[in-house]
């Protein structure tokens, strides 16, 4: 059997779409009689074409329009999220500011340990003096500040920057 000429998928799809003129259609039909590979490929593409042609308009539920109209003036949930996020962000910044202020005033420099004997627990329960727990106030406050900075960045991204960029993108796409 001689080598069969290739017929491109584009050409076959144009045939299925009815984009070929009558002469081209007849020529293709003649070619398909002897070109088994093209015939098989046409059938593969025709299966897809027939399936896609069967696409039909789906129907929404009965009270769809009513629900849309009811939602038109409902507050957008993202508004609440943004407000809460901004409050959380303000809280984190306030904590960072206060902690930094107290830290710079040297408030945590003098406290280096917690003496359990000074807690007022009656020593009838203990035979020996309770130990003093080493305590680095500066380190703990620094960790709190760092955690709040991380929290502030996350909140800023999720509730302010991301919604803002999404709105901008939507506006741009409309």
């Amino acid at each position: 059997m001689g080598k069969q000429p290739d017929i491109s998928d584009d050409y076959l799809l144009n045939y299925l779409d009815g984009s070929l003129n009558p002469e081209e259609q007849n020529a293709l039909k003649q070619t398909l009689i002897s070109n088994q590979r093209a015939k098989e490929r046409l059938e593969e593409l025709r299966t897809i074409h027939t399936f896609l042609k069967s696409v039909r308009i789906e129907e929404t539920s009965k009270n769809f329009t009513e629900r849309v109209i009811n939602r038109l003036h409902q507050p957008q949930s993202s508004g609440y999220l943004t407000r809460n996020g901004i409050l959380l962000l303000a809280g984190a910044l306030l904590t960072i500011g206060l902690a930094s202020l107290l830290l710079s005033s040297g408030m945590f420099d003098t406290v280096s340990s917690i003496n359990l004997n000074q807690l007022g627990i009656p020593n009838t329960y203990f035979e020996r003096n309770l130990p003093a727990i080493p305590f680095n106030g500066r380190l703990i406050v620094n960790v709190v500040i760092l955690a709040n900075i991380a929290l502030a960045f996350i909140v800023l991204d999720r509730t302010v920057l991301k919604p803002w960029f999404e709105r901008r993108r939507e506006m741009h796409q409309m």
């Binding site: 998928d9 584009d10 799809l13 490929r41 593969e44 593409l45 299966t47 897809i48 074409h49 399936f51 896609l52 042609k53 696409v55 039909r56 308009i57 789906e58 129907e59 929404t60 539920s61 769809f64 329009t65 629900r67 849309v68 109209i69 939602r71 038109l72 003036h73 939507e170 506006m171 796409q173 409309m174």
Partner: protein, 185 residues
Amino acid sequence: MTTEQEFAIIDQVLAGHQFAYAELVDQYKNYGFTLALKILNDRAEAEEATQDAFVKAYHHLKDFNRNSKFSTWFYRIVFNTAVSYKRKQKGVLQSIEKTDVRLYAESQSQLEKDDKKKFITAAMAILNEADRLALTLFYLKEHSLEEIAEITGMQPNTVKVRIHRARQRLADELTRLLKKEALTL
């Protein structure tokens, strides 16, 4: 509904007659829902996304510049909204291989083994949302290639090519799936 009638309704809505919007919703809800369903493959989510799209369109109606049909502008919003929903869907990155396994299980017990429709539905998963939507719009035959480009965000001169390539990929994938099934028989 003619374009002039649509614009008249839009004018009424912008003038504060909110209930006039119901006419636009009634006109485009089924088509919009069909497009969302093609992307999401879930009726409840598609309906939610379509409602969201209508609410967004309402709030941005003053930005509609009337250079295109309302439907083209609205279906673009449906597309963007459905794609956002898709990103939020759990297990969105379900691979075609996983789909095959589920389909084989179904095909063994419930379905006819030569049911190509199921395999094409599975094969559709290899296409991206824009290609899937372009195919749907193309076969519904209500939009020009330029309008399909506007809705899906494609370049107008590449829409036809993308539709051809999408069908080629579907045909290839269907052949692969059928061969795979034949091997399991």
